[in-house]
């Protein structure tokens, strides 16, 4: 699972950004074959940067689609229509994102270079001086408005995302390590927390990580049978 793609301090905006950069790094076009090729890179990327990845749920959702693409490359005939669609939707999202990134670059390039200007703020053309405060203006009103501005500001900078809580990869690796120390072997199906695909993907990545470091050994007796996990 060694790849040449090692990023210590990722500054990717999100999973599509990270994935696109993996594909472009290998000079691949966006298609299901490329997705299968970069699945391992992507999973490694998540494993390496688990702590610094903020929108974990989105990263894992895409990991799960990539695992599908990987299975498709191995067993194309086993794909359901729905799974095929999921893969092709990810391809489309990547294409849209790639286009947006390109055009975003174009816009950033012309932004502010040849601007059109609005007139400066002035009184109107008439020179007569006017004083028209209306009937509501008092110092109390100003104090209230200023207070209102203060109350509104800090709240707006707080994150309000309410995405589903996702098991962190690190937690999962630790949990698996602990369990492996207690028992000689366990099956993938008994180790997974729920039927939720994201939980399965996290566990899958975790066992790949642990097998890489030699802490566990994996065995699958036949295609689609349960994966057995043995502690070393």
């Amino acid at each position: 699972m060694k790849t040449d793609f090692v990023v210590q301090t990722p500054n990717f905006e999100g999973p599509l950004d990270a994935l696109l950069s993996l594909i472009e790094k290998r000079k691949l076009y966006i298609n299901d074959i490329s997705l299968a090729k970069v699945t391992a890179d992507y999973i490694q990327f998540i494993a390496n940067n688990d702590e610094s990845i903020t929108n974990k749920a989105e990263f894992l959702t895409i990991a799960s689609t990539l695992v599908l693409a990987k299975s498709k490359s191995l067993l194309p005939e086993m794909m359901t229509m729905e799974e095929e669609e999921e893969i092709s939707e990810l391809e489309d999202r990547l294409r849209a994102f790639q286009l947006i990134k390109e055009q975003g670059g174009v816009l950033a390039g012309i932004f502010g270079k040849q601007p059109l200007f609005f007139p400066q703020v002035t009184k109107s053309q008439t020179t007569e001086s006017v004083f028209a405060p209306g009937t509501t203006l008092t110092k109390t009103l100003l104090a209230e408005k200023a207070q209102a501005a203060i109350v509104v500001l800090p709240e707006d900078t707080l994150p309000t995302a309410n995405i589903e809580k996702i098991v962190s990869l690190e937690e999962e690796i630790e949990r698996l390590e602990r369990r492996c120390r207690k028992v000689a072997s366990l099956s993938f199906s008994s180790a997974v927390r729920s039927g939720n695909r994201q939980d399965k993907v996290v566990l899958f990545i975790a066992i790949l990580e642990l097998s890489k470091t030699g802490i566990i050994r994996l065995e699958q007796s036949s295609m689609f049978s349960d994966i057995m996990i043995y502690s070393q």
Binding site: G14, E58, D92, A96, L99, G112, F117, F118, A161
Partner: protein, 181 residues
């Protein structure tokens, strides 16, 4: 120049702000259709002058002509912040090519929640949010067009082509990041 066109020119010059077709129609006592025709004429008439008309789907505003952008840049008072972060330019491009566009679609295309970056672009006066029939959409402001040196969205680089491709690629099946603002 016809009377209504000239009248609208004087109005836009006086108010110095982006005015909606509806507002202009009301103040001039004319129909929205007539105002739209007059705005198109005004835009054409200004082509060779020192001014230009920036138009969005809903509004019109007078600005200096693209021909004198370098000249006015030299004498301008307020520095324009010309930096766009990666996130800002992506979000701005999404709004530019797909407007009017919902936040959920921007999130879907970028693969991340765009709440913070959209707020940031709003604060800079580059995008605006409009709510109609309970649906909020984002669009470029006249300021954004002016900063990009264009008077309407159609003048964006590769506008039609990019919009079509994005339309084809980015139809979200369901909202993937439902975060209410």
């Amino acid at each position: 120049m016809n009377q209504l066109t000239a009248k609208i020119e004087s109005l836009l010059f006086y108010t110095q702000e982006a005015m909606s077709v509806k507002e202009i129609a009301k103040l001039c006592g004319e129909s929205a259709g007539e105002v739209e025709t007059a705005l198109a004429k005004l835009k054409e008439k200004l082509a060779e002058s020192g001014l230009a008309l920036v138009t969005t789907d809903k509004s019109a505003q007078l600005v200096t002509s693209p021909n004198f952008s370098d000249f006015i840049s030299e004498i301008r008072e307020e520095e324009i912040n010309t930096d766009l972060t990666e996130a800002q330019s992506e979000a701005l491009a999404t709004v530019a090519y797909l407007a009017p566009v919902q936040k959920v679609r921007i999130d879907f295309i970028r693969g991340v929640n765009s709440r913070a970056v959209l707020r940031n672009l709003s604060v800079r006066g580059l995008v605006s949010r409009r709510t109609a029939d309970g649906v909020s959409t984002y669009d470029l402001t006249p300021e954004a067009l002016a900063h990009l040196g264009i008077t309407e969205k159609k003048e964006l680089p590769d506008y039609e082509e990019t919009r079509e491709k994005l339309e084809a690629f980015s139809e979200p099946e369901e909202p993937s990041l439902e975060v209410e603002e």
